[in-house]
Symmetry: C2
Subunit: 571 residues, 2 copies
């Protein structure tokens, strides 16, 4: 393939017209040309390196890697560094192997990290454990480019042997270590950094990011579906304030200072998670444009999704240079930033209308090992007329929960939820053969009837269910068991489900189908009175024990502030 | 050690005041502080990371590594990546070991590269050969951080087996490869880059650097004693012209373009070579200030001698962050840029007046294996009254030479130089036991009497001598043999020499002493009529066969354009 085009060159921060030859998947030749009135430029628009998402959990898209690739290339993304943390919690190494194998079927660059924290805690039943031997096995694979985000920062700070061993192995195999250290600062952060953990994507504000950056970390600006901090980190008033407070004005010559205010001091733009209903509208293309709209130099924003991650993880990607893999994107212009075409290894994979590769369906083995449930499984029993209970308080779109209490009636020995006070039942059903069920109460969902259930429940992905009536809850859970995983809504008036038969996390369907089904489920949950925008997402985080305050695992109600189980019924 | 100071933070491109604790040689703690009127800032000025010279041949300073360190720290440099190419040509692995050993005695960070091209050509007698097995041995050493500059670009381009093997070894041991590809462009450059050769310090103009940069190379801007390209590469009219020509204006939003004009697109500032008479006046400190004077953003210029080289070569240096080695410099301010103090691993090594470490003298083994010479050795014989000869034409301060001819008288069978036409005799005396002498003629030195000789003659460092009269030439060469190497000037009126007994390249003396002695020698050569500013340097390049056009080795007169020997006397 030979053509002329304007190249956005991330090496020299400029645009130049060139004659390009692509052969055997690589840029064989790139010769700058001089444009006169007669010169025919074949490609309308501008060509950019294909975008790289330096941090995503593909499972969050509910799509297989191959289906994920299909929607990603529509938005100019050609590479991702993916942490298969979710599937690893369900199926261990086998799950990671599945991701690698499935990813290899499509013209898209999937790089993976070795999930460092499986299981996330010892207070839940997961489908697998990855010990340091497993990590060593994974780190030796070419497809594994880093040790995945080290979420167990208390383990690092307190010097847990197994955690330290995993970190040491990453250094031994010269693979970078991704971090995850929300609000960790001061001496704790220093200890965390002693282990050569380099990246962080958990900064919730500018000051936190500045401290981490000053201490040598590379900062991932996050523009995901549930995780977002771009507005906070690209806040120029904060940047100027920072420079002022730190006495830079006065010491650094003013013209030097002014030039750097609009240059990002952070390193990557990543998604962390992307739901299908967002993915169909945009991906890193939208994030780059958003960064530019916030005032960031657009070329620097582009570098945050091209050359920067490529350099950090040592990927054959990120720039349009001779010898590099011919991954590139055609955009209309830097203002509108519409993706016109996407190429991977010299092949057009998206022509502006259609994605030009097929995806073969995956035969999913059932990963749900749970017996059918009855209403009795979801009852909390108490001997008396009423009792005081501990209640999880959830907030729309947040991972953090509050801890509250409620006084509930008891009928026939069963503690009753209170629809007027929005106190519903929440339960986690173990899905790895043990069949335990933990029951508790939750405030904030707003459901007036029915139940919603899901097999996506971070990080162990047991089945989680919220509802008013135990029968309906059992029905919803059983629907999920029948479907080999997924989402379900059950009520007297209507029921529906989205089957996620691959590890209970993913489906063979494409992004548009999944987004549509999710839309229907969301509308149903609203009809049932649910006040949350994404009830399945919010529910998925109710089992994420590492984020405070009150959470639930299959083993019981969990106090994240004190890192211990507590009783549902208060003494 | 605990103190408060303003830090220039290369991670966030800003300045901030902090309380700093240095312990066991590392930054143990750095806590940003808020400055009020009462706050006492202990350190006047600003602290910066210690500077790193990413490419230098220490031998060019004529100082031992330890003595080099003594002068370098006066100017804020605390680390160098040094290619021991010169000593390797003389003494092979043993010479490199000497450099590493000598370097280890002082508080300074010496990193070395494995010299890739020893000998430089097969048209000269060198003291050693480093084959690919030797390179493999070297690449396994911790002190060796890269494969040294691959000067043999024809060998790379034409696929010489031994050259390719050395390059493959560097990739195997995951050590970056330094390049050296003057004026190599187009397809030749593409072939050179296929080998993953990453850096280049040989760009002589902006366009050359842009091509290399666009093709993915990291560009070293060179501000050495004989090698300089900073003015050419930091030329903003060129940069603006470049952006204009390449149609960046019109495609990239104007405000985005304007911001980047004064940001360097190149990567490092290096010296390549530094003579003692320059070193006593400044080093990278002067180069950074020069870059700023040329309009480059000073913080970016500082990054070119700190974080950029540290990241590229993977050095524990280049930024002031907790856990890093406490190498830092105190400067007065960013405009005047005077070095007030220098610290290496937390120890003050330069207090503004004195260097605070001692250097032990090296016992030098004699590396000159040559018998004493007589006048006869330096005669060119011809049977006739006159003859036409090929003549090297040298130019002040240039490595390139011209090729000219002259008609010379013959007396007693000996071809006579012509002082009126400035045709002098030039000879190279083999110093590795073989005792061959090659004689030829040179124009451009301007000597009216006497002879000057040197054992510094790139790349094989045989003894080179220029003069009018064979007796004086023999005397000058014998003086060097007596001195175990160095420089010598001999005339009827006066004689003097600088002994360089370590490999015939370096001395135990300090920079000030050497600079003073060099000054005397320079004044003497002027008194003898020499028109060159640095006759020893110019002479040293007359044996550098890889730079055209006419050169001389111990094996004869060499035509660098056709890469073959030619006769002194024309047919």
């Amino acid at each position: 393939m030979k053509f002329t085009a304007y190249i956005l060159d991330v090496m020299t921060d400029s645009v130049y017209p060139a004659r390009i030859t692509v052969d055997e998947g690589v840029f064989k030749d790139i010769t700058p040309i001089h444009v006169t009135e007669e010169t025919k430029i074949d490609v309308e628009g501008l060509i950019l390196p294909g975008f790289i998402d330096a941090h995503i959990h593909i499972e969050s898209s509910m799509l297989t890697p191959a289906q994920f690739a299909k929607i990603a290339v529509r938005h100019g993304t050609t590479s991702v560094v993916s942490d298969p943390h979710e599937i690893a919690n369900v199926c261990g190494i086998e799950g990671i192997d599945f991701m690698i194998e499935n990813a290899s079927q499509v013209p898209f660059n999937f790089y993976f990290t070795a999930p460092s924290c499986v299981p996330a805690t010892s207070f839940e039943t997961s489908g697998a454990i990855l010990n340091s031997d497993d990590i060593e096995f994974l780190l030796q694979k070419d497809e594994i480019v880093a040790l995945g985000e080290m979420m167990n920062f208390p383990g690092v700070i307190n010097g847990d042997d197994e955690v330290l061993r995993k970190l040491e192995l990453a250094r031994k195999y010269k693979k970078p270590i991704d971090g995850h250290a929300p609000l960790v600062s001061g001496e704790d952060l220093d200890k965390y950094l002693e282990q050569c953990i380099v990246t962080d994507h958990e900064c919730s504000n500018f000051q936190e990011a500045i401290e981490k950056k000053q201490k040598g970390m590379k900062i991932m600006v996050r523009d995901g579906s549930s995780a977002k901090n771009m507005e906070a980190l690209f806040d120029f008033s904060e940047r100027i304030e920072h420079l002022k407070n730190q006495d830079s004005f006065g010491i650094i010559p003013t013209e030097v200072l002014e030039r750097r205010i609009y240059s990002p001091i952070f390193d990557f733009i990543v998604s962390d998670d992307k739901h299908p209903n967002d993915l169909i509208h945009g991906y890193l293309d939208k994030s780059v444009k958003k960064a530019a709209d916030l005032g960031i130099d657009i070329i620097k924003a582009i570098e945050m999704v091209t050359i920067n991650p490529a350099t950090h993880y040592g990927l054959d990607a990120g720039s349009i240079v001779i010898g590099a893999k011919a991954d590139f994107v055609v955009i209309d212009n830097l203002e509108d930033f519409n993706i016109l075409k996407t190429y991977v290894a010299g092949e057009c994979v998206f022509d502006g209308e259609n994605v030009l590769f097929d995806v073969t369906e995956v035969e999913a083995e059932n990963s749900i090992d749970a017996t059918k449930k009855t209403a009795e499984d979801f009852e909390v029993y108490f001997d008396g007329d009423e009792c005081e209970v501990n209640v999880i308080e959830c907030y729309n779109g947040e991972l953090l929960t509050g801890k509250t209490t409620a006084t509930l009636n008891v009928k026939d020995g069963k503690v009753q939820p209170d629809i007027y006070e929005d106190i519903l039942k929440i339960s986690v059903v173990e899905r790895y053969g043990g069949n335990s069920v933990a029951n508790a109460f939750i405030k904030g969902f707003g459901l007036k009837k029915g139940a919603i259930a899901s097999s996506v429940a971070h990080d162990s992905h047991n089945i989680i269910v919220v509802g008013y009536c135990a029968e309906t809850m059992a029905e919803a859970v059983n629907e999920i068991i029948d479907n080999k995983g997924g989402f379900a809504i059950v009520s007297e008036d209507f029921s529906d489900s989205l089957s996620l038969p691959i590890a209970g996390l993913m489906t063979n369907e494409d992004a548009y189908v999944v987004a549509k089904k999710l839309d229907v489920l969301h509308r149903m949950s609203s009809a049932l009175g649910c006040k949350l925008d994404s009830p399945f997402m919010t529910m998925a985080f109710m089992a994420l024990l590492v984020i405070p305050s009150l959470k639930i695992s299959d083993l019981g109600l969990f106090d994240g502030d004190n890192f211990e189980f507590i009783d549902v019924i208060k003494n």
